[in-house]
Structures are given as structure tokens and as C-alpha cells.
């Protein structure tokens, strides 16, 4: 079954007087359980594509489908509902709400979803253990390292078992060891929970973990290859 489908997406930004084509007739299908890396140099269009898939940004033309729902025509409220129920996000930075503890950050999405307090507590403690952050549940982001913060963000993204996780440069601020740990966690979640991952990166190590690598340049897909993950 198709988890993500993009049909002929176009998006143009104005930079001063110059029109920049961030997406230039991009079409892709990503199967459920896929582990896809979007690779491109800076300005290549990978983050724009990721944002379009997540309903954070609207394409100028084309269609975006998540499972069997077309999202490019949804209202802000419907998109928020979709993101809440079906998509987990991991951003490059500013991933956590600084006034909440690690556990509260993880519970945040569940709380917005209306999950009962007891269930939230159980799930958040379990996921903290799963991402190796036992004992850090009461720390605020400022009291954690970059790697720990990114793990909390991953825990929050996957705690309610979304069908799709979108990660934008998730290892950009991490050292190589922490990057490997994070990618192994992604791989494990992909294999054990059949979660679809779409990761935008230009980190070669991250690309090595992907089952499918899509290369972009100037807003166009230039390469789409299946590969044996590391």
C-alpha cells in the first residue's frame, strides 16, 4: 500500500527578484514501511518536499496524498488533525518545547490527541526506555545534550505509533556516534513497527541506512535507487 504519493509537485520561491524552483514537477510513490532518504545539496528541494509531504507547506501545483487522503487541498485545521494523528516529525533543531520536561514533551502530542493520563505516562516511560533515556524524564531540554534532545524528539515522533515519520536533517547537530545510534533506532522502529520513514539529509552515513535513496538537484529528482541498508 502507498504511504506517500506526490504527483507533479511544483513550488517556486521568490528570492529578491529571482524565482527559485524548489520543486520542479516532482512525482514519487513511497510504499508503507519504506525507509527513504531524500538527498540533495543545500537548496536542492529536499526540505520543501518533506514539508509538502507533511502538510507544513503547500505546493503551487500538483497533488500530495498521505495513504488514501489528498492533503494539498485540506484546510489548516484538517492538516493539523492529520499531522497529529498520522505523522511524526523530527526537525533539525528547536525540536522540543523548552518549558516542558522530556517526559512532558513526549506526552505533548498524546495529550493533544486526548490520550488518558495513565496511558500517557505508561507510553512515555516505555518509549524513554526504548530510546535509552531512562532516568532523564524530568529534565528540561536545556539540561540535556543535543543527542539526548534529539532522542526525546524521536521518542515524541514515534510514541503514538504514526504511520509516517518525517525527519529533516535529524543528525545535523550530532556527533557521528550519536548519529549512528539514532539511525539504528530509526531502522529498528522501521523493521519492528513497519513505520514509514522519509529522511531529508545530505549526510552520507545516514544515506547508508536507507533502503531507498532519492537524489534531488534544483528541485528535480535526478536519481531514485533501491539499496541494501547498512
Amino acid at each position: 500500500m502507498t504511504a506517500v504519493r506526490c504527483v507533479d509537485l511544483c513550488k517556486t520561491y521568490l528570492q529578491g527578484d529571482q524565482a527559485i524552483k524548489a520543486l520542479d514537477h516532482v512525482s514519487i510513490d513511497i510504499e508503507e514501511g519504506g525507509f527513504v532518504c531524500l538527498s540533495a545539496p543545500s537548496g536542492g528541494g529536499k526540505t520543501t518536499l518533506l514539508n509538502a509531504i507533511g502538510g507544513l507547506d503547500m505546493p503551487d501545483s500538483g497533488e500530495v496524498w498521505i495513504a488514501d487522503r489528498r492533503i494539498d487541498q485540506m484546510s489548516k485545521g484538517e492538516l493539523a488533525e492529520l499531522r497529529l494523528s498520522s505523522i511524526g516529525f523530527v526537525f533539525q533543531a528547536y525540536n522540543l518545547i523548552p518549558v516542558l520536561t522530556a517526559r512532558e514533551n513526549i506526552e505533548f502530542v498524546m495529550q493533544v490527541q486526548g490520550v488518558a493520563a495513565k496511558q500517557r505516562a505508561e507510553k512515555s516511560l516505555a518509549i524513554l526506555e526504548e530510546v535509552g533515556l531512562n532516568g532523564l524524564e524530568d529534565r528540561r531540554p536545556a539540561e540535556m545534550s543535543g543527542g539526548q534532545q534529539q532522542r526525546v524528539a524521536v521518542a515524541r515522533a514515534i510514541v503514538s505509533r504514526p504511520a509516517l515519520v518525517l525527519a529533516d536533517e535529524p543528525t545535523a547537530n550530532l556527533d557521528s556516534e550519536t548519529s549512528d545510534e539514532l539511525m539504528e533506532l530509526f531502522t529498528e522502529l522501521n523493521e519492528h513497527h513497519n513505520t514509514t520513514f522519509v529522511i531529508a539529509t545530505h549526510d552520507q552515513r545516514v544515506m547508508g541506512y536507507a533502503k531507498r535513496l532519492i537524489r534531488m538537484l534544483d528541485g528535480r529528482i535526478v536519481d531514485d535507487i533501491q539499496q541494501n541498508a547498512a
Binding site: N51, L84, Y94, V99, R156
Partner: protein, 410 residues
Amino acid sequence: MRMLPVLTRLAWRYLWRNHRRTIIMVSAVSVGVWSMIFMTALSRGMVDQVIEDGVAALPGHVQVHNPKFLDDPSVANRILIGDAELSKTFSSTDFKAWASRVRVPAVIASEYESRGVTLLGIDPLAEQAFGYIAYDEVDGRFLEGIDDSGIVIGRELADKLETRLGKRVVLMSQDPDNEIADRGFRVVGLFETDVPAFDESNVFVGKRTAQKMLRIGDTTTEIVFLGDNYRDVEPTYDKVVAKIDGSLDVSRWNEIASYLGSMLKVMDGFVFIFMVVIFLALSFGLVNTLVMAVFERVREIGLMLALGMKPSNILGQIIIESMLLLLVGLAIGNLLAVATIQPLRGGIDISVVAEGMEMMGAASVLYPRLYLSDMILANVIVLFLGFLASLSPAWRASRYEPVEAITKVG
């Protein structure tokens, strides 16, 4: 409603993220609320005193007259019901106090001067509860009964007439047939109230003595009733109306002394405007605080939107933050107001400006009056206007596009 706990928690945490700014704003709200309540209590105390003195000088919260009496206050327009029948009608009814009296214009003359006054023929026992004169503070003595042959006048009037205790004066008025009715009285008491105009224009004699002088049998010109609270005379008014036949006029005090009623309304309006003006000054600080609070967490707002929080939840979060800030300020402001007004209930000596106060009919000691309704009004104004003031920054915060907000620099 299910979002309320999470929004409240976020709002509270964000409120204390920059605790110094929050403390400054809370302090400003507290002082503002304190000043609203404190100044209102002082103003209420002053105006209440003026009105109470004025009502006491009428006196009576509800009055009954012949329909023509207020336009032409002569004994020809008296109430043609005898004392005995009035007693039978009203004694069984639950009034704080009631009395019937003779009240007509008259001329008082000493051997040197004469003045126009209002002659009040009263039953001193029945009138004591009206409290317009403290009987035991009268120089000499007050009237002892309805047959008392003496006269009690104000010290101010005695000075004008160049008379004194023990001297004789002559009272002159008209009987129902418009014939001159006069009589000599010995001055048995001199009174002094907080209202010089009252002292100068009213003289008191026994009711029956006045009835004899005016040749009106046992009839009177005025029946007066006292309720529990001059601000709420309706229960008393209704009871009186139920007992009186339609041939007589029943009036509330603010219909008879319309300027006092207007003063009360003006005071209510003044309190409201005063509170709104103070809040408007506060609102600039409040809006600035909220704008800064939103501006410094644009990326976090973007993150929340990206994670699936609806724009309406962001709007709610900022409004809750504003309400929490105001509630903390209100709690402190209310406590401060009660704590500072309570010790002053015994009165504040304002004798430095006493002359000016007397001109307004007020005394030189000011008794602050703290009304629950004024406190509620101050709180409601702050919360309601605070809500309106926070709408703009909250609306702006909820309009952010997630991508633009997350990638916002600095």
C-alpha cells in the same frame, strides 16, 4: 475543553519563563487593582456620607404626601388621616422605623431677626431612629414628647437670629384657611449636624403642639418610613404602597431629593470610568508583555503547529497566559486593597481640607466604604478588558505558518 489542562500548563510555564518580566507586570496589575478598589472605597465613603446626611436631612427613605403637597407644601394640602388611624395602619407592618409629622414652611422671629424656615412638628420618640439629630448631643435638651411646648433650633440659626437657649422666639405660618397661625416658643435646645444648611433651615417642635398651632386637629402633612438600606428602598416602598390607598402620593427619597439620586448615579458612572482608565494604562504594559512573549517563542509556536496543535489552541494558550497573569495580579491587588482599607474603617482625618468638605456637605473624617460589588466590578473590568487586550497578540500568534515560524531566525 480537553485541551484546557495542556494549554494552562504551557501558559503557566511560559509565564514564568521570563519571571522578571512577569513579576513586573504582575506588580503593575496588583497596584492598578489596589488603586481601583482603594480609591473607589474612598470616593464611595465620601459620597455615601454626603448622601446619607442628605437622606437623613429629608428625612426618610420613603415618604407619603397629599398629591399636591410637594408642589405647594402648606397645611391645606395635608393628609386627611388622623394619627390614631395611621397608627392602626402601620404599627403592625415591619418597618425599621416610621413616623408621621407636620412639615410646613414658617417664619421664625427673634427680637432682632426673622428667617424663613421649615417647621417640623414631630414625635421625638418615633423619629429617633431616623438619626438626623443625635438627641443626647443637643445643647440644652431635645423635645421630650409630642406635647412639648419648647422649640429646638440649629446653632447656626440661633446665631443668625441672635438668640440663645432659654430665649423666646415666635413661629408664624398659615392654617388651612390661610389665616395667620402663630405661637411663641422658648428655645430649649440647640443642635448641630454635619450639614450647616440643615441646621439653618429646620426647627423642631412637638407634633401635637404644631397641630394645635396650625389648627389641623390630629392630621399631618407627611408620613415617613425608614428601610434597611437607602440604596435599596424598593421593599419598603412596596410595603408602603400596599398599605396606602391611591389618593396619596408615595415617593422614594431619590424622587424627592433628585440631586442626591443623581449624585449616586454619577458616582456609579465615575467608579466605572475610573476603573476603565486605570486599566487602559495597564493594558499597554499587558499587550507589550504578550507581544514580547509571543515574539520570543515564534519557533516554538511553529513547532506546536507542526506537531498538530490547531491555531485556535495557540490563540487559547496566549489568552490563558494573559488571564493567568491578570488573575495573579488581581489576587494580590484584592488582598492589598482589603488589607489597607480594613485598618482605615475607623475613619481618616481629613481636617486639612475640612472646610472644602463641609461645603460639599461632608464631614472632616472620611470613612472608606468597601463594597463587594465594587471589588467584583474591578475584577470583571480587568478580566474582560484584559481578554480584549490579549486578543490581538494571541491572534497574531495563531496566524503563523508552521514552516515560516520554525525557520524564523532570532
